[in-house]
Amino acid sequence: MIKIVIDNKPVEAQEGQTILKAAQQAGIPIPHLCYHPAFPPEGSCRICLVEIEGLPKLELACSTVVREAMKISTQTPRVRESRRGVLEFLLADHPLDCPICDKAGDCNLQDYFQEYGAFESAFKEAKERREKKIKIGNNLILDRERCVLCTRCVRFLTDTTKTQELGVFRRGIRSEISTYDAELVNNNYSGNLVDLCPVGAITDAQFRFKTRTWFLVPAESICPLCSQGCNIYLDYHPGFPRVSGTAKIYRIRPRLNPDVNDHWICDYGRGGYLSLLSDRWDKLVWRKGDRESVLIWEKALQILAEKIRTLHVIKRTAKIALILSSWLTNEELFLIKKIFKDDLHVEKIFFADPKPGTGDGFLLQPERAPNVRGAKEIGFALNSARLEDLSQHTDILIIFGPFLAELFSTAELKTVFDSVGTKVLITSRASGLESLVDFVLPASGMAEKSGTLTNKNGKIQSFSAVCPSCGDSRPEWSVLVDLAKELKVNARYYSLLANPGAIFRELAKEIAFFRKEPLWIS
């Protein structure tokens, strides 16, 4: 450890650390635009200059390494004047179109102006006019007037994806970010450019002009689209009180986790998950022949429990088959294990997961389900569902998730289902399976429930509900607990499992793998 002084406050820093990092750790913010923790210092925006005792010039906080007994000032008139000078330069040519800029409210340039600028413009000359709507990627729009040339985007594509689709072209005041000829930014991480951009120069074509950032509440979550388990923010608009249907998740952004995804997420997850969030099945349906009746949950669970209990009493639970999914949380899979394997001794347990894709060697994994590892650790064999397994002597078939529809055609499934007594589907998404079953129980989406997932490396990560469950839907774990109580096999045990936290504690008690880290925040 090195002892330094920042703004007269003694601070401990690590050897080799930069002033900016040491100050950040000590809770002293230093403005910066070109610096980003994922890349080596660039030193081009010049807004992080600070005063160091004994040195004649102001020095870069982002690149200057601390030395023992270094005395640094970040708030002297000279430093503040220098920041103001940089802001004045940046804003001289800036279009100041914050009212129509997606970044407004979330913009470093705006924030720094509030804190260090707040001057009347002295710029009397004509502003440089530049192109404002350039398509640089399938989902990316570049506004060159807003660009501050921090080159974070160029460096990301050079250092991180190594795809190098963007570069700086021309010189001086005419410098501009551009693609090479008409080749668009085309890699699975292009969405990160929007997050990296400290201003509104690169915007997301999907998100553009849809809402204002200050309405959005960022909620911590986990991307479920593959087994990497990238940490994300779901930016949720709680809705306007008098306008129905305005509550919505507008945007997915990466959340820093050096162990899992660093600063990034892939476009497959970002775009894919966002579209899933709005693709919801939320009606509780009981179909008898051609007739559809609307049910309440209590009644539906009573009917189901009665059917299962009957088979249990006559020791025919071999006629029950389950199709699970690795989209279920650790808690839900654990409940299924307790109820169906341990209590009822059901043997026909299969999995239907999305078909594996190709990994990209970075974050996106071939396994397109978030909890494959969790299912294995809980003790499931993960046998993929086969048609012949289902058709033989099945009285009750309970299907979790929509993925069976991806594995088999409707005609194939219809033939098999005809020989099955009662078909129950618990799903959060419409997939076509709904019309083939007797009961459709709407499950909450990932963003509407809480739980934990185990990524491919065995990291157990928790997530919490971001928004209320839509329509009639309920989280699978609560459906399972209520069903277990109705079954009256081991009702006392289940009545204590009132939330995912309690279920996880039971899981950890029973299976050593889950005892690794006390991560559940109830």
Partner: protein
């Protein structure tokens, strides 16, 4: 003239050919260095000679060499800065075209001193004929075993390459030069690390100006003491002053470091053309702060000029006569730096453009009260705040012009 060292034989026909150069005692210093001296002794001699860099910053050359780590796994490299982009400067061009072997000899001795086996000459793109002559001289030097493997049968090896720039001023800045030489955009690098430890292709690199290295054969051949006698104790040798503007004899003048500016303009360059009167002088290339006519009784060395608030820079003396409006000088300066800013860092990219826009308005008769103050304020926000020295180079002349010629500039403003 007895002071001449580098340019002594410039009048000689075909001096650029190796045979003529050899007749004049060429490559004797190299023989001495390779046969009689150790690399350490060569460096020590150059240090003792107080040879300061001739590119503009004036850093002691011997000290620069000793910053290169002795034991490294990577090869050590030498880059010769022949980009000569500072407006008003044309001294290196004379050395390169009249006496390329002098530079080559200096390069080989330097490479020997530092333990370098690959050297590059980065020459500005506009010097096409000069580059061809340099290439021919290098070919001759290879033939005569002054370059290549086993130089002068002493087992020392050096390869020398010429790389032509594409015309950007910024590539004269040493780290931008390295980037350009590597085939990238000529953007200056963040320092540290300094090129002596991480330079060209990530290898320890010595970067010296053409004139600096051209002095090395004399230091080795005639000794540090002889060299010092031509200059000042902390600034040895001669300087090639390039005089331009409305003088009787514009051109290069090799004189002792410390010769007075008045002497250079009025004795050597023959004073101003008939009927012209001196108004101001830019003493060290365009980025040097301007001196008024009453400030020219000054010694032309780093310290004297720094004390007067200017700098020796590349020793390019730009003479300005009374008829030249200062606003025109300002316009030239501002247009140049705004055009040549690489655009990498904020203050230089936007500041130089803003300043140019104000001056363009001023020159067109649209100047307003407060514009001169605004120029000084904006230039001050560039000075000392940029990634490379070009920010200072752009800001200093603006500040000095605006401050020293405020009355003239303000007399043309509206709203008086």
């Amino acid at each position: 003239m007895e002071d001449k060292v580098l340019t002594r034989n410039f009048g000689l026909e075909n001096l650029y050919k190796v045979d003529v150069y050899l007749q004049q005692g060429g490559y004797q210093a190299l023989k001495k260095a390779l046969k009689e001296m150790t690399p350490g002794q060569v460096t020590e001699e150059v240090k003792n000679a107080s040879l300061r860099g001739r590119g503009g910053a004036g850093f002691p050359a011997g000290m620069k060499w000793s910053f290169v780590p002795q034991k490294v796994d990577q090869p050590k490299l030498l880059c010769v800065n022949a980009d000569e982009g500072e407006p008003g400067t044309f001294k290196d061009r004379y050395i390169l075209s009249h006496n390329p072997h002098l530079l080559i000899e200096g390069i080989v001795i330097t490479a020997f001193a530092v333990g370098i086996h690959t050297a590059y000459i980065y020459i500005r793109g506009e010097y096409e004929a000069v580059a061809q002559r340099l290439e021919a001289a290098i070919a001759e030097a290879y033939q005569k075993s002054f370059l290549g493997k086993n130089i002068l049968e002493r087992g020392f090896e050096l390869d020398l390459f010429v790389h032509r720039g594409a015309g950007a001023y910024i590539c004269g800045e040493e780290t931008a030069l390295l980037e350009s030489l590597e085939g990238k955009r000529g953007h200056p690098r963040l320092k540290p690390p300094f090129p002596a430890s991480v330079g060209l292709f990530q290898c320890p690199t010595v970067i010296n100006n053409v004139e600096t290295l051209a002095n090395v054969p004399f230091i080795i051949g005639k000794g540090a003491r002889w060299f010092m006698d031509h200059g000042l104790p902390r600034d040895g040798g001669t300087r090639i002053f390039g005089v331009s503007g409305p003088v009787v004899r514009p051109g290069i003048y090799e004189l002792a470091v410390g010769t007075s500016l008045r002497e250079i303009i009025f004795s050597h360059a023959g004073g101003l053309k008939p009927g012209k009167k001196l108004k101001a002088v830019i003493p060290g290339g365009m980025s040097a702060p301007i001196l008024r006519a009453d400030e020219i009784d000054i010694k032309m060395d780093y310290e004297s000029l720094a004390a007067a608030g200017s700098m020796l820079g590349s020793a390019a003396v730009i003479v300005i006569d009374e008829e030249t409006p200062i606003v025109d000088v300002l316009l030239k300066v501002a247009k140049f730096y705004s055009h040549e800013s690489c655009g990498q860092c904020t203050p230089c990219r936007i500041g130089t453009s803003w300043i140019y826009k104000i001056i363009r308005r001023l020159a067109a008769g649209g100047g307003e009260r407060g514009d001169v103050d605004e120029l000084v304020r904006l230039a001050s926000n560039i000075k000392g705040k940029t990634l490379c020295p070009m920010g200072d180079a752009a800001a200093m002349p603006i500040i000095s012009l605006a401050q020293k010629f405020r009355t003239e500039l303000e007399s043309s403003l509206k709203n008086q």
